[in-house]
Symmetry: C2
Subunit: 347 residues, 2 copies
């Protein structure tokens, strides 16, 4: 191709990409064009009203091509080595001819911005792997909003042919439940000493995990990690069993020594086999869809209600009365609701 | 008093009690009259619209007299011996000049009715103790409704001078979270073998407990229970710490041998001291009030929305489309919400 032709082609490609119509993007995505995928996710993340409609249309078009992946949630407190783990573990899976998308949920990112940049730089090596697509956490003012965008990005990534989707929690202690509600497998990373590092984990998260993986099991930590793993294994049988009959596993690994990572991959594959065979894989996804539908609906109703200025101010007033024990919480709720009903016809 | 006078007095008392005005009931309640308390709780539990207004007024009047109790949630799967435990433990506390109210939350009671009767007969001995007031679970079609009534009964009981309120979960695996959200101390009863009996406990409940008590630690079970207690104690330090810095305790007891019960009482007293000293007792109650206010408000808004017949039918239709992957959960939510907005002015 001579320079002129190349330039013309480049221009037309730019135009094509810039033309963010849902149909154009769809053909790009299902042709596994990553530029189209990136543009599509940008569209989903946009706050513009027109982009929003187009994005919803695109996701709908992608739905028939989606679903063929294992969605893995990865969580753990800061310092546990999440990015290092994802980099090493992602590399291992990617080199087995899998295509991996790494997404993140960080409800604090719109404020701090720090973690977005952090992610990008920390996963330098993995981002260069041709089978790996890394996308930082979308911005957003509410956890619900951020979560919805990530959930939609999952569908786009699946339509673009990715068969492993990692969803990383970046913030501290807020997004675990939300991530759990959009993944097939929930992985909790832990350090070998059990104490201070648990501070960031919310109650109930431990019991949600399909696997606990003790990181940094190398050098001096090696023995300590094995002991910790044994303790967790003993504790696991005291937990209520999972709905899908999967018994949570406890493993150790080291990203530096490249140790234990393949075992984690094998474990996830046997989880996939087992839950697909007993039907709980599909069952879980369907009930997640249902939950998300109802949650989204409630969110819409609720924000429609709370966005009214008069309501907002009145709620603050009533909240104080409830906190001071002047009225019961239910009476407070009724007072606010009465105001709403009165104004309802005027919307 | 001669017979005539007595009869006149009885009649006037009946009339007084039958006159369920909030002011009459209030004076009875704060005079620690149990008949008035019973009538007040009946008023709270009534489904009549006029009773409802009167009940809300009464609760408001009782609020300044409420709060002076330790609210203890007691849960555990059927067969763990909840009623036997409450009978023995309640007896012990009552005999130390405490006044105990035993309330229950049973979301299934409106259907089965079985557990209500069961409770009454099972706690025969305790119900005869003059310091103990037992009230079966209120009926109701939703867990939220049942929970609200129980929460309001707590306020009435406190105003009537009870300083220990037990809230027992009766149904299986549904009401634990709700009970947790209305108590100061959450007690999980367990059996010594860890296995099948965990089936009824939902994920995350274990980590919510302020104490795990292993019941039936007598006879052949004695040794097994101690081993189980040790295992749970080892497991506890693997859990994330509580917000109030309280480290959950693991104890064993036997209602038959009257063993371990006083230790449980001592533990609850030291919990009360510790959390009242560090302020988390009050903090927890305030945040519970706030949560209940917002939850009640949401409940009102949602039921206003979901009770509309057109909405109900449309939701079913959309839910199927979401489950079949025809549209995304968010698109489904938008479609339903659009219908709502269209009709909003016509309410």
């Amino acid at each position: 191709m001579d320079d002129n032709k190349l330039n013309t082609w480049k221009e037309s490609r730019k135009r094509r990409i810039r033309n963010l119509s849902s149909k154009n993007l769809l053909s790009g995505i299902i042709a596994h064009d990553w530029t189209a995928l990136s543009a599509a996710i940008t569209l989903v993340e946009s706050f513009k009203e027109t982009d929003f409609r187009e994005a919803q249309e695109l996701i709908k078009l992608c739905l028939p091509y989606s679903g063929n992946s294992v969605r893995i949630g990865i969580t753990g407190v800061p310092g546990v080595g999440k990015s290092t783990f994802i980099e090493a573990f992602g590399e291992l899976i990617a080199n087995k001819e899998n295509k991996i998308a790494v997404l993140a949920i960080d409800p604090s990112s719109s404020l701090s911005k720090g973690s977005i940049l952090g992610d990008k730089t920390r996963m330098n090596m993995l981002s260069m792997n041709e089978n790996v697509f890394i996308r930082p956490s979308p911005a957003g003012s509410t956890l619900g909003g951020v979560a919805r965008k990530t959930r939609e990005a999952i569908i786009l990534c699946e339509a673009a042919g990715f068969n492993y989707i990692f969803i990383e929690t970046v913030g501290v202690g807020q997004s675990e439940t939300v991530v759990k509600s959009m993944v097939d497998f929930f992985l909790l990373l832990m350090l070998s000493g059990a104490g201070d590092e648990l501070q960031g984990i919310k109650k109930g998260i431990m019991e949600m995990a399909d696997a606990v993986v003790i990181t940094k099991a190398d050098g001096e930590n090696s023995k300590k990690s094995e002991i910790a793993a044994r303790e967790y294994r003993n504790a696991i049988h005291l937990f209520p069993p999972n709905e899908n009959n999967w018994i949570p596993k406890v493993l150790t690994c080291s990203a530096i020594d490249n140790f234990g990572l393949d075992e984690i991959h094998q474990m996830i594959k046997s989880f996939e086999n087992q839950t697909k065979n007993n039907g709980s894989f599909e069952f879980n996804r369907r009930s997640q869809d249902r939950t998300w539908f109802l949650e989204s609906l409630k969110e819409l109703i609720y924000s429609n209600f709370f966005s009214k200025k008069s309501v907002k101010e009145f709620i603050k007033e009533i909240e104080n009365k409830v906190a001071n024990g002047e009225i019961t919480s239910f009476q407070g709720a009724e007072l606010v609701f009465d105001l709403y009903k009165k104004n309802e016809t005027g919307i």
